[in-house]
């Protein structure tokens, strides 16, 4: 129990993977750019370096709140991470853990907004406002698109959704539109390019995190990395569950391969589009993507 919570497939495993996934992302994008890219330990080295840097809290900002926000964000994504089955093994799940995981994954976005709100800096505030606007567009999209898998599986428990697919076949094929929409929602959730509007460097410097530095920034970065891996694992479980042969090692290998594939898709999308404007994003999600998702969900419910 303690082993599966803290080591595998829990906390340590996910944190280690999140560093590797971030490196993979940076390396792949660098290759798309025609650059060399960082060595494999770069994201870990960056984390360690940030931990040693001076930690500045701006005036008129509560130091307790400034520290509590990244820690809460990290706690929520880490809790979500430990509740996600990795290749079928997890902490003993509970009824309805799908909803809990979805909630825990969306919590950091709200905290991210608050991080901008507690600083009086104009870039932080603008970035915070933008992140809240963005929250209302991608969150609906992501939740609806991923719910398709739960509807098909007839359960709100992730492990049931996974095992159900070994009977019915993987969801990715009949729910292809759902998978694509969920990936787009995940990009918005993670604030990755081309939906990196709240932290657009040339407009609002670093958005809500402009005034953050040192250890707190390190924790913020780590929680966003863990959120990435957790989101990807959730998608693998919901759309590629049941692809699990008997051998445990092959099972884990296949699971990670699918996760790496999804990360590569995220990196590719980041590399080939220009950043959208916030109004363009809202038009795109509410006028095109969310109606599409609703059609998709209605089809799943009625069929």
């Amino acid at each position: 129990m303690a082993f599966s919570a803290y080591v595998f497939p829990g906390f340590m495993f996910i944190v280690a993977l999140s560093f590797l996934f971030e490196w993979f992302d940076r390396k792949l994008i660098a290759r798309f750019h025609g650059r060399v890219g960082p060595p494999w330990y770069q994201s870990f080295a960056d984390f360690i370096k940030l931990l040693g840097k001076e930690d500045i809290t701006p005036l008129n900002t509560s130091p307790w709140l400034a520290a509590a926000l990244p820690l809460t964000a990290f706690a929520s994504v880490a809790t979500a991470a430990t509740n996600i089955p990795v290749a079928g093994s997890q902490l003993p799940g509970f009824q309805g853990d799908f909803i809990v995981v979805m909630f825990l994954l969306s919590l950091p976005s709200l905290l991210y907004f608050l991080a901008g709100w507690i600083c009086s800096g104009v870039y932080s505030t603008l970035g915070g406002n933008r992140s809240l606007l963005q929250y209302f567009s991608y969150e609906v999209l992501f939740t609806l698109a991923v719910s398709g898998a739960a509807i098909a599986g007839g359960s709100w428990t992730i492990i049931d959704i996974v095992t159900q697919q070994s009977v019915t076949g993987i969801n990715a094929i009949p729910q292809m539109p759902g998978l694509v929409l969920a990936i787009l929602g995940l990009i918005g959730k993670l604030k990755r390019a081309p939906f990196d509007i709240p932290k657009a460097k040339s407009e609002v410097v670093a958005g809500p995190l402009t005034e953050y530095s040192g250890k707190k920034l390190a924790i913020w970065n780590l929680s966003i990395q863990v959120q990435t891996v957790t989101g990807i694992f959730l998608l693998v479980n919901c759309f590629f569950g049941g692809l699990f042969p008997a051998n445990r090692a092959i099972q884990l290998g296949l699971f990670l391969l699918l996760a790496v594939g999804l990360q590569a898709a995220l990196s590719l999308i980041s590399a080939i589009y220009a950043r959208l404007r916030i109004d363009q994003l809202i038009h795109l999600t509410w006028r095109v993507l969310i109606p599409l998702t609703l059609v998709h969900i209605s089809y799943l419910v009625l069929a």
């Binding site: 390019a193 657009a200 460097k201 040339s202 080939i272 220009a274 959208l276 404007r277 916030i278």
Partner: protein, 360 residues
């Protein structure tokens, strides 16, 4: 709704040079803006009066970090006019070759900056990799990648040996292929259109009112190009076209610049083919007779003007430098009005900032 003031600069990730723009926002809309210049004023015009005509070549090369060659060309032309000096034809061709390569390098650098500021890192990297080709050619010719120190009063310092020509032609072919790819991207990429079309519009009247020059003016339908309208060096013997669009937005500015890159590559080939033989410099007298001279060139950003007054002494009595960056920059408050905050970065990049030129 209350106004929010967002400072951009003098230090901001958007602009690498010190320029300050205060944006007054209502929601995400820019209702007003305030421009402040002068952070890198170095007093070059005054400094030039303290130095001899020959020393000033090195000084004016440092007016701009990107279009350094066009400044020395314009300066040397003015001094040569004062001296009444006939410059060898071959040296004019060497000057033109570097001018055109410099235009390629400046425009590709600008495209990279624009792409970076709109959050399109891939194009930023591609444009700058392609720019390396032009830098390599220039390094081969002059030994310097950005500052060439090629011009002297009476011609140029270096010659282009026969064995370099094949290398340069090879580099140009590579450059042309890459620039065509970028042109294809600018013409067809949807997400690029979403961010640039209709942004930072300047009408034909605005352009005339503000005396805007160069690609920004040509993108708004003003047909000006010093190379054709008032040929200097040996441009009257070359065959080239000037591209004029009427859209007046950032997209049109991008397209004009990329078409100019391709035209410059063609011009380089033409220059290498038609380059006459003979010496590359004529000996110039040390003492410049009293008089005034004006020299105008088409730099990458538009018309560069030098006015030089000599009183017969060792140093010039007065030098006036007019760069296109300043007139283009002044239009920024007009362009920014009514824009979405997110488009400010695109609009500011669109005019091709060069604060060093503007401040001098």
């Amino acid at each position: 709704m209350s106004k929010v003031i967002v400072p951009i600069g003098p230090q901001h990730p958007l602009i690498k040079e010190p320029l300050s723009i205060k944006l007054f926002l209502e929601g995400e809309e820019v209702v007003d803006s305030m421009l402040r210049l002068g952070y890198v004023h170095r007093g070059i015009e005054r400094l030039a009066q303290e130095r001899s005509f020959v020393q000033n070549i090195h000084l004016v090369e440092r007016v701009c970090g990107i279009c350094s060659h066009v400044h020395t060309t314009t300066y040397c032309q003015a001094v040569e006019a004062l001296l009444g000096l006939e410059v060898p034809a071959r040296s004019l061709y060497v000057r033109m070759l570097l001018c055109e390569l410099e235009r390629v390098h400046s425009h590709l650098l600008w495209l990279g900056v624009l792409a970076k500021n709109m959050g399109f890192e891939t194009i930023f990297m591609y444009a700058w990799q392609d720019r390396e080709i032009s830098l390599n050619i220039m390094e081969k010719i002059s030994g310097g990648r950005v500052s060439h120190a090629v011009n002297i009063v009476g011609g140029v310092r270096i010659d282009i040996p026969e064995e370099f020509v094949d290398d340069i032609i090879g580099g140009l072919a590579e450059l042309e292929a890459k620039a065509n790819e970028l042109l294809n991207f600018v013409e067809h990429d949807k997400s690029f259109h979403m961010r640039t079309k209709g942004i930072a519009y300047l009408s034909h009247e605005n352009i005339k009112e503000y005396c805007v020059a160069g690609p920004v003016a040509r993108a708004s339908g003003l047909d000006i190009d010093m190379r054709r309208d008032e040929p200097y060096a040996a441009y009257d013997q070359l065959d080239f076209s000037v591209f004029v669009l009427t859209d007046g937005d950032v997209w049109a500015r991008t397209l004009v610049r990329l078409l100019e890159v391709l035209e410059s590559v063609r011009l380089c080939r033409q220059i290498l083919k038609e380059m006459p033989g003979g010496p590359v410099s004529a000996s110039a007298a040390r003492r410049v007779p009293p008089g005034e001279a004006v020299s105008r060139c088409e730099g990458p950003r538009g018309e560069v003007l030098y006015y030089i007054k000599s009183d017969g002494g060792q140093n010039p009595a007065r030098i006036k430098i007019r760069t296109p960056s300043l007139t283009n920059l002044i239009t920024l408050p007009l362009q920014l009005k009514g824009l979405n905050m997110a488009d400010v970065s695109v609009a500011i990049s669109g005019v091709d900032l060069c604060i060093a030129c503007a401040d001098r």
